[in-house]
């Protein structure tokens, strides 16, 4: 079963390039095609082997290959995909030979360097000026003892991944190690940065020498894995090789240059007296150890030895090489193998080698199994607690112990020599993230419903989209603060404060966060003339929030009299206070104030700002918290004493109002259930309006505004000259009545019976509960506590009655028709979806807000009328149900950006978006949906959203969107995502994220401007103009006069426009407060045509044409006049745009 499933799943992803191309189709072109609902590309024809080939006797190899595929890989396709991927990231043969010959000449060129004749004092660097190169290292203080005399390298060797065969594109580089001859090294060079400076000078000399080489395109400096102590030279060859490959020049020294023990992590090699310019000398033992500095030198010394080790363990096996390459791709997609403190390819190889030595990985395993085993070990092994000592914990008492290593650095992975911690730069959070990703990937591999290959290796998992909230911190003040406090003689840089900031933030968030990570900054390159690199003092933290606790207002601390209480007070400062709890205990506690749900979402941001200011002296202006930036789009404004309208704090983002509607609805349903004298009992009552699943963009407000308009009997009327009151929309409620044998089996008769029921219901409600009602033939509007509920009494039998059809031979058939499908959608599917999504909303707090924001965005882009609300709700639900490769979003901004990403990248043409609510669909069902889909694409809608209750996937999306609207949506989503992600990563000042909610109007043909005071939703618009009328909402006062119900002139206007000009133009409108209607002519309507009786609406005789036959053209002037006429009193102006 697994196999077939995978086949189908992958079978349909085959080609997405065409869709990408059609995406940029201009609006006009798309309209032409708009009528064809499906523009489905042909899915590959089935290959058929002929009988002879199918049934020929198998060879031995064939049988083993087929068997291997079954047992070693998940499926045949997976295996082939892996092979293709490996072929793609490796260098082609011709390129490789070119690269080899380049390496050869480069080596010769390096060895031809001339030795320096005299030696210079290290501080005297005048000779450098002639070379016009700046040393790629910070030299503070410049004055240091020691002499430097350049000698040509003792040897030049290829090292690293190129030799191991695990190099991967896109960053394909060969590492060359230049061994600095012993003559250049003096005995005391291990002290006071002397070696580091010599090393930098040495590279500078080499770079200067290579400048003359003609086969080199570019020479740059960079830091090795972002470590500012270790500059490297990056050589880009000329020609085509240079486009894909670079060569990195490193330095090594012989292992016996210094005693390894000199660089024991507890020793000091940088004297504080020298560093801070103090005169008094301290004893070596009094100085604080300099582990980072020591590690940097050790790495150079042990480089070759470790490489030999790697080569001997994993170099020989193709399978392991493949496995490591795949893992590197996996890390690369997660942006974890670049930058300072990253999980680099070297560490990865060492880890796999470690697993080989533990006999957990063997060369006999397939590459797939190696990936799996490695990920499994990564996710299960408690690395942070135990650390890895590759040499075992034995013999030499001089070597540092596990505990000593752990005391110094967060992550311990000691190489076979026993001195070097190769993970010394890594912070624990990076390792935690690697483990977290490994765990997730393993889960994805086990799930058969998703395409694991795609998710593991092909999909990018960028930092910004992974985390729920991002915090940008300017660390410059923190560094100063830290240097002042600790007088640390180890290295001064931004990276030094990162671990402590992380520690504090992690502690402050406690169980609110499940993971706190910092973003690895990829190392920059710079031209050799440009001198050293400016310090990055921006830090970006990402937080994965914990759904359950992230919004809690209380941080309960230890009891007041316990010894920990002091630490707690110290940590939280003045925020900490003593509180008595319900169980009688008196504890330290921190309390955050928040009234609304929207305000609660800000608690984490408050906490982070508080602790960073308290512990690192980082001012609030240096901290940018990303997570709630778009909340303002769900707010409604209020105005206090004629000021500018501002977001109403008591409204928050409207969740509370949604609950209020829900409460009223529950009371009403209780009333209906308990009604006496209703002829049939009510089986179920279900809401089907978006407000009942809490995804209404602006939940309905109770009608409590000052009555405007004229009275007539017991109701109010709108009048043309006055302001239009806010819309009181009826909220749809479906009541399914019990079945009865007396029901007539005839749809007309049934309609009348239902009408009679509605009259009865209205009468009973008025009599028994004094509720105002309005009877319609198909429903009753019930006015309760300021809300209006449209109650539809329905019988399930009605669907069947509508479906009944008698064939000519007398057979009675059930057949879907448009009426039965519409009814089924209204009384079965929508209520079901509503209750399911309501459940999802309680499980995932942010679901509702994200869905609302998504709908707000679509409407703001004028596409709201072309994409059903339910469709958006379902797409957002998918993000929570199948979040791979991430975890379900816990912040509004994060959820929204993933929504944009999904919409802009999903290949609707080739894949259904299966939304497996509550995991009801079984594997078999999912497979069968996928098989059906790929077999018969055209019978499925363009946007196919199968669920457990609608396996055809088209209840809401069958009619819309059409390809043109979908293309437009994709283009807009791409643009918006770009702006959003740019802001998330760079946090540029002055960027208003609201811009992605402002749609440009220049590509429409005609703009109809409306008079704002007749737009009842004006206060909901993205930018609320100062003079907008903002209704006052509040408690409803029942005076038994019906307010104006469901009266929105703009919608009535739009309806009439669409009825009149459906063949001629498209009308676009933002239903949340838009004050313009954008019009686009349909291209066919702009063509002159012959006189045809059936094709003459809104056309006129073309008097200008000189043709014999009379030509008819669309009467644009008259239509524009009609816009004024039809919208009399509402339209302010109609303008044609200049295209």
């Amino acid at each position: 079963m697994k196999r077939t499933h995978r086949l189908e799943k992958n079978g349909v992803i085959q080609d997405s390039s065409d869709v990408d191309e059609t995406v940029d189709v201009a609006m006009d072109d798309a309209v032409t095609n708009g009528d064809h609902i499906h523009q489905v590309q042909p899915i590959a024809k089935k290959v058929k082997l002929n009988k002879g080939e199918l049934y020929k006797p198998p060879t031995n190899e064939e049988i083993t290959q087929l068997k291997e595929t079954e047992s070693l890989f998940q499926s045949g396709l997976f295996r082939m995909q892996i092979n293709e991927l490996l072929g793609e990231v490796r260098l082609k043969k011709t390129k490789k030979s070119q690269l080899d010959s380049f390496l050869h000449t480069l080596k010769e060129s390096i060895m031809a360097v001339k030795n320096m004749k005299t030696s210079f004092e290290l501080k005297n660097q005048d000779w450098l000026k002639k070379l016009k190169i700046k040393v790629p290292i910070k030299q503070e203080p410049l004055d240091v003892k020691g002499k430097f005399q350049f000698q040509k390298p003792k040897s030049v060797k290829v090292i690293g991944s190129y030799l191991l065969g695990t190099c991967t594109k896109p960053d394909y580089h060969v590492d060359l190690a230049l061994e600095i001859p012993k003559e250049c090294i003096q005995a005391k060079d291990h002290l006071n940065h002397r070696y580091l400076r010599k090393r930098a000078l040495y590279l500078t000399c080499i770079a200067a020498h290579l400048r003359k080489d003609k086969s080199i395109e570019k020479l740059e400096f960079s830091y090795h894995h972002g470590n500012p102590m270790k500059p490297i030279v990056i050589v880009t060859p000329t020609g085509s090789v240079g486009k894909t490959c670079t060569v990195h020049l490193h330095t090594t020294i012989e292992e016996d240059c210094f005693k390894l023990n000199r660089f024991h992590i507890n020793k000091n090699n940088v004297r504080s007296g020298w560093l801070f310019g103090e005169t008094e000398e301290k004893e070596e033992n009094d100085e604080s150890p300099t582990p980072q500095y020591n590690t940097a030198i050790l790495a150079d010394m042990l480089l070759e030895k470790n490489l030999q080790f790697l080569h001997s363990t994993i170099g020989g096996s193709q399978n392991i090489q493949d496995g490591v390459t795949l893992l590197k791709i996996w890390l690369g997609q997660r942006e974890l193998n670049k930058g300072q403190g990253s999980f680099s390819g070297f560490i990865l190889s060492m880890y796999v080698a470690h697993l080989v030595s533990l006999h957990k990985v063997s060369p006999l395993m397939s590459s797939y199994q190696i990936v799996r085993t490695t990920l499994l070990n990564l996710s299960t092994f408690d690395w942070l607690k135990d650390g890895i000592m590759m040499h075992g914990t034995s013999e030499d008492p001089l070597k540092p112990t596990r505990e000593e290593f752990k005391a110094v650095s967060g992550v311990v992975f000691v190489d076979p020599s026993g001195y070097l911690n190769i993970c010394a730069d890594m912070t624990p959070d990076t390792l935690k993230r690697v483990q977290h990703e490994a765990k997730l990937s393993l889960q994805h591999m086990e799930e058969t419903t998703i395409d694991a290959f795609e998710i593991l290796f092909m999909q990018r998992v960028p930092f910004t989209r992974t985390f729920d909230t991002l915090i940008h911190i300017k660390t410059s003040c923190a560094i100063e603060h830290a240097v002042k406090q600790h007088r640390n003689s180890d290295v001064r840089s931004a990276s030094a404060v990162v671990p402590s900031i992380l520690q504090v933030v992690t502690r402050a968030l406690g169980n609110r966060a499940s993971l706190v990570c910092h973003k690895l900054q990829p190392c920059e390159k710079w031209d050799i003339k440009d001198g050293d690199h400016p310090d990055e003092n921006q830090l970006c933290l990402g937080v994965l929030l914990n759904e359950e606790h992230s919004n809690s207002l209380l941080e309960k601390g230890p009891p007041a009299d316990s010894p920990e209480a002091k630490g707690f007070r110290n940590f939280w400062g003045e925020k900490s206070e003593l509180r008595r709890f319900k169980d009688g205990s008196i504890c330290e506690a921190v309390v955050w104030n928040a009234e609304t749900i929207a305000a609660k979402r800000h608690v984490t941001s408050k906490i982070i700002k508080h602790v960073l200011t308290r512990h690192f002296n980082i001012t609030e202006s240096c901290i940018k918290y990303m997570g709630n930036h778009l909340d303002s789009l769900l707010c409604i404004p209020h105005r206090s004493n004629k000021n500018k309208p501002r977001p109403d704090p008591s409204y928050g983002t409207g969740e509370e109002h949604s609950f209020m509607v829900m409460k009223t609805y529950e009371t009403l349903s209780k009333i209906i259930r308990n009604l006496d004298d209703l002829p049939l009992t009510v089986n179920t009552i279900q809401g089907s309006d978006a407000v009942f699943r809490h995804t209404q963009v602006f939940p309905q407000e109770a009608a409590s505004y000052k009555p405007s308009g004229i009275f007539e009997g017991k109701r109010r009327l709108p009048s043309a000259g006055r302001n239009v009151p806010p819309v009181l929309a009826p909220l749809k409620v479906i009541c399914i009545m019990e079945g009865s044998g007396k029901m007539p089996e005839d749809k007309d008769a049934m309609q009348r019976i239902k009408a009679a029921f509605h009259i009865k219901l209205a009468e009973l409600l008025h009599k028994q509960h004094n509720l105002e009602t309005v009877v319609h033939t198909d429903h009753v509007d019930i006015f309760k506590d300021g809300f209006l509920f449209a109650v539809y009494l329905s019988f399930l039998r009605e669907i069947a009655v509508l479906k009944l059809e008698t064939a000519p031979n007398g057979m009675v058939k059930m057949k879907d028709n448009s009426a039965s499908v519409a009814l089924e959608k209204d009384i079965v599917h929508t209520p079901k979806l509503t209750s399911t999504l309501n459940g999802l909303g309680t499980e995932h707090q942010t679901y509702c807000a994200v869905a609302r924001l998504a709908k707000r965005w679509i409407s703001a882009q004028y596409l709201g009328d072309y994409i059903q609300d339910e469709v958006v709700d379902m797409i957002v639900a998918y993000l929570y149900i199948s979040p791979a490769p991430h975890t379900a979003p816990v912040s509004v901004l994060g959820g929204f950006s993933r929504f944009l990403y999904l919409v802009s990248t999903y290949d609707w043409n080739l894949n259904p978006l299966i939304i497996n609510f509550n995991n009801v669909l079984t594997k078999e069902e999912i497979t069968s949906i996928q098989v059906q889909f790929s077999k018969d694409r055209t019978s499925f809608p363009l946007m196919c959203l199968p669920t457990s209750f609608d396996q055809s996937g088209g209840v809401w999306s069958r009619r819309s969107p059409n390809p043109m609207m979908l293309n437009r949506l994709v283009v807009l989503a791409k643009e918006s995502l770009l702006v959003l992600e740019n802001h998330l990563t760079h946090c540029t000042k002055g960027v208003d994220l609201k811009q992605i909610f402002r749609a440009p109007l220049d590509h429409y043909d005609v703009i109809i401007k409306l008079i704002p005071k007749y737009v009842p939703t004006a206060f909901q618009s993205v930018d609320v103009p100062d003079e907008t009328i903002i209704p006052k909402f509040g408690e409803y006062s029942n005076d038994h006069v019906l307010p104006v119900i469901d009266f929105n002139p703009v919608q009535l206007f739009l309806k009439e426009l669409r009825e009149s000009f459906d063949d001629i133009a498209l009308f676009f409108y933002d239903k949340y407060g838009g004050d313009v209607i954008a019009v686009l002519w349909k291209p066919p309507s702009l063509q002159p045509s012959k006189f045809q009786v059936s094709h003459i609406d809104a056309r006129r005789v073309d008097v200008e044409s000189n043709k014999q036959d009379v030509q008819m053209v669309t009467n644009i002037e008259a239509i524009i006049q009609d816009f004024y006429t039809i919208g009399q009193g509402l339209v302010k102006s109609v303008t044609k745009t200049q295209k």
């Binding site: 293709e84 007539p744 009408a755 009786v1093």
Partner: protein, 276 residues
């Protein structure tokens, strides 16, 4: 033609007289009505030949009264009836039986009209109307409501006559029940009575009701039979069957392998394997 229009003479296109109309005095743009004598092979009494004018491209806001007034003002003669339709047809639309439950659709947007005059010569007068200046549809004396005023009016008219509705429903149901009863009686009287050829139709009222003829029943029967047939078959019994099934297994594996290969080739073609 341009000359004709500007001088205000009668203009005709493909046998249709062109008549410009605009909404009111202030309007800039105007539509063109196309008029012709109504003549079709199959006639209908609601649209008598020679007395009926066929009008094309009637603007959305233009109603019966407005057309009536237009031709009266133009001095063609008295108008008896105006029939508006979405699409031209020779018959008249069926009358709505119920005032509450509509069966036909409301006519919205651009439409066609059949104007029935009292006298025959009126049609001839109408198609000879000069082009002239655009005629005005909404005059201060007889305004057409549009926009806000219209919507407010419509809102005001949105009331439900509940007793009327109840009465109509009662009447309908009475009629419905009566019809049903008649049908039932008719069927009952037929029970067991052979027709001319001696066949007896089975109804649901007889002693032997038989199985209802529905799709579901039909399917149930065929399924049952298929299952019966399948139970009798023996698989994996003879050695040739086992050999065959092994061969089949291998063949499916090969087939799948081949399909996978093709799929990969396609993915490759679309550069699906660049992880960057």
């Amino acid at each position: 033609m341009q000359r004709k229009m500007s001088s205000g003479e009668n203009v005709s296109v493909h046998g249709f007289t062109v008549l410009p109309v605009k909404f009111d005095e202030k309007s800039d743009g105007f539509h063109q009505l196309f008029l012709k004598e109504h003549s079709v092979r199959e006639t209908h009494k609601s649209k008598p030949t020679k007395r009926t004018l066929f009008v094309l491209n009637v603007p959305p806001y233009c109603n019966e009264e407005c057309l009536k007034r237009l031709f009266t003002v133009e001095d063609c003669g008295k108008v008896e009836d105006v029939i508006l339709q979405k699409k031209p047809s020779s018959t008249a639309k069926p009358k709505e039986e119920s005032t509450f439950f509509r069966t036909g659709e409301l006519i919205k947007g651009f439409k066609v009209a059949y104007v029935v005059f009292r006298k025959e010569n009126a049609v001839q007068k109408a198609i000879k109307l000069p082009y002239g200046k655009p005629r005005i549809l909404s005059t201060p004396d007889a305004p057409i409501l549009t926009g806000m005023k219209k919507w407010c009016q419509e809102y005001k008219d949105r009331t439900m006559d509940i007793p009327g509705l109840q009465k109509e429903i009662d009447l309908y149901m009475e009629e419905f029940d009566r019809k049903q009863k008649e049908e039932e009686e008719r069927l009952q009287s037929q029970e067991g009575v052979p027709d001319e050829d001696g066949w007896v139709t089975v109804t649901k009222f007889g002693k032997n009701k038989g199985i209802p003829r529905t799709e579901v029943q039909e399917k149930r029967i065929t399924d049952k039979e298929r299952k019966k047939r399948k139970d009798k078959e023996l698989l994996n019994f003879y050695s040739f069957q086992m050999r065959e099934s092994k061969r089949e297994h291998l063949a499916t594996l090969r087939q799948k392998f081949e399909e996978d290969k093709q799929r990969i080739a396609m993915m490759k073609a679309s550069r699906k394997f660049k992880p960057y």
